[in-house]
Symmetry: C2
Subunit: 316 residues, 2 copies
């Protein structure tokens, strides 16, 4: 196990779990200075946007693993082949996607798209998850604006479920975005093709989805106008989180999770790129715990009515 991350098969649900014992030793806080500022440990030279491999990778480059064959053969463990990268959004420490401005965030979108394409071209990567964990309340230990990218050797269960639904019932993102635009009441912002809305059945307080009205598979598939629209939407919609409640102290970062779902290496018309956001709070300073009732069932309980969340975000 000291050799690195290991995928282990859970026979109760026939899904893989990543056992990452080597990550237990990682520091909770960097020892000195910000490693992401220019001149820091992970950014020795000046940069505008930047990516680099995670020093404590949950998945890492290596020979391709055949997950389907392993499942069929009853193989219980595989090396966690894939990728884990860090993306720096800007050299400025005291900033965020919402404050960097559309032009800089467009560069971030371009880098996400570039890394998506580059990782999907590797034989060991089938799926690319672009995400941001922001704020101390979700475990982010470094405030410098940054996100992460995981490359998986399989399509993970959550996007796989969305794709299976799309194959069986038609694209649910196309239908949902159209319905939300028509209803209006849960729409938070729109820029060009991209819409931010609190979904009708949001499982997370103040959780939003970001999606383009027109069907597009992945970040890499977005054209210039689509990338500009996404950048403008991120600045607009994420900025509303920062204005939703009074900051409890200077330098406070409203915490949220943000992840994109997009097409895998195999492609397919059922994929419609979109993002989910999930703040870990249900009121100022009040954590929303996902506990046994939700983890044990898989059915989320959201104490913030989506229409009220959308109104508060529109008003912010």
């Amino acid at each position: 196990m000291n050799g690195g991350p290991q995928l282990r098969f859970d026979p109760l649900v026939r899904e893989w779990v990543n056992v990452v014992g080597h990550r237990q030793q990682r520091p909770n806080l960097p020892a000195e200075g910000c490693p992401f500022c220019p001149g820091g440990l992970e950014a020795p030279e000046p940069y505008d946007v930047r990516w680099f491999p995670n020093r404590w990778p949950a998945l890492r480059p290596g020979p391709p693993v055949d997950v389907a064959a392993a499942e069929a053969a009853g193989t219980p463990a595989l090396p966690a082949a894939g990728a884990a990268e860090v993306v720096l959004f800007a050299p400025r420490h005291d900033a965020s996607l919402a404050t960097l401005g559309t032009a800089q965030v467009r560069k971030v979108v371009d880098l996400w798209a570039q890394r998506t394409a580059a990782l999907l071209a590797r034989p060991e990567v089938e799926y690319v998850l672009v995400f941001e964990n922001r704020g101390r309340d979700v475990g982010a230990t470094i405030d410098h604006p940054h996100g992460q990218i995981y490359g998986y050797p399989f399509v993970p269960p959550v996007p796989a479920k969305e794709a299976a639904v799309a194959r069986a019932h038609g694209c649910p993102v196309c239908a949902e975005v159209a319905a939300e635009v028509a209803a209006g009441v849960r729409v938070v912002a729109r820029h060009g093709d991209w819409v931010a809305y609190v979904p009708y059945a949001s499982g997370y307080p103040y959780g939003m989805r970001f999606a383009p009205v027109h069907h597009a598979g992945s970040l890499a598939d977005l054209d210039d106008a689509g990338r500009d629209a996404l950048a403008a939407l991120l600045v607009d919609a994420l900025g509303r989180y920062d204005r939703l409640w009074p900051a409890p102290h200077p330098g406070y970062l409203f915490p949220y999770l943000l992840w994109f779902h997009q097409a895998p290496a195999a492609g397919g018309p059922e994929w419609h790129v979109h993002a989910h956001t999930a703040p870990p709070l249900r009121a100022p300073g009040v954590a929303r715990y996902v506990a046994s009732g939700e983890l044990g069932s898989g059915t989320l309980s959201n104490p913030v009515v989506p229409e009220e969340a959308a109104r508060a975000l529109r008003d912010a």
Copy 2:
């Protein structure tokens, strides 16, 4: 929405989300005194073990709802018909499942079994989830030893997935328990028919599963010997959490989630009763965050190697 909890259909994954706006107003901490101590708000009279309806129910009694028909018809919302109950494990405030002793915990097991059968007999309840959220770190606001029970109008996604696997591949719990007993290295404790082990592909640091070696569908199906064994196992295995690390302060409760999966009202030979536990820590005082990489993918990353977790729990 002020009328009560509402199930809303999420078309992206075709699963239901419970919107519980009325719960947003619930107090985070009780105003005065422990409501669960004898003479308190929720326990006005002496008791040994006790259950009562949750004052802020996530699911509540009402006419049955037909979830499958609603999905087929495209009905987006239904009343969250079901049940939400609180179970008091003992009158003593300063206690827990681990310290109450096997005889008292046996009474808890009996009450769980009784409420399972009683709720499954209601027309609006198809599935019963018995669980405990323990400790401030998982959001429990009252230290008095207690758990909860949810009754759902459908089989929720997580137990439904386990049952689908069992129907397609044979009982995975039977196979896993037998394999873990044979391997030994991840077994934490055994009492009679019931075994506590850290599963090979545990998604949670120090997470355990509790299951009987012999196939049994639900808590209500357990005979006297099975209930005694489960009670003894709970005292033994959960007590190891309290001894795993030094308590940071007097009265500290090592935090964990505990939930049981068991057969629904419709029954079926594919169900094998068992429990999952999930502590929210990966080291003393160090939270294990489930963030975007895991929520966005559905693939958990566990930084504590299961064999090491099992050894630490055996040694505790």
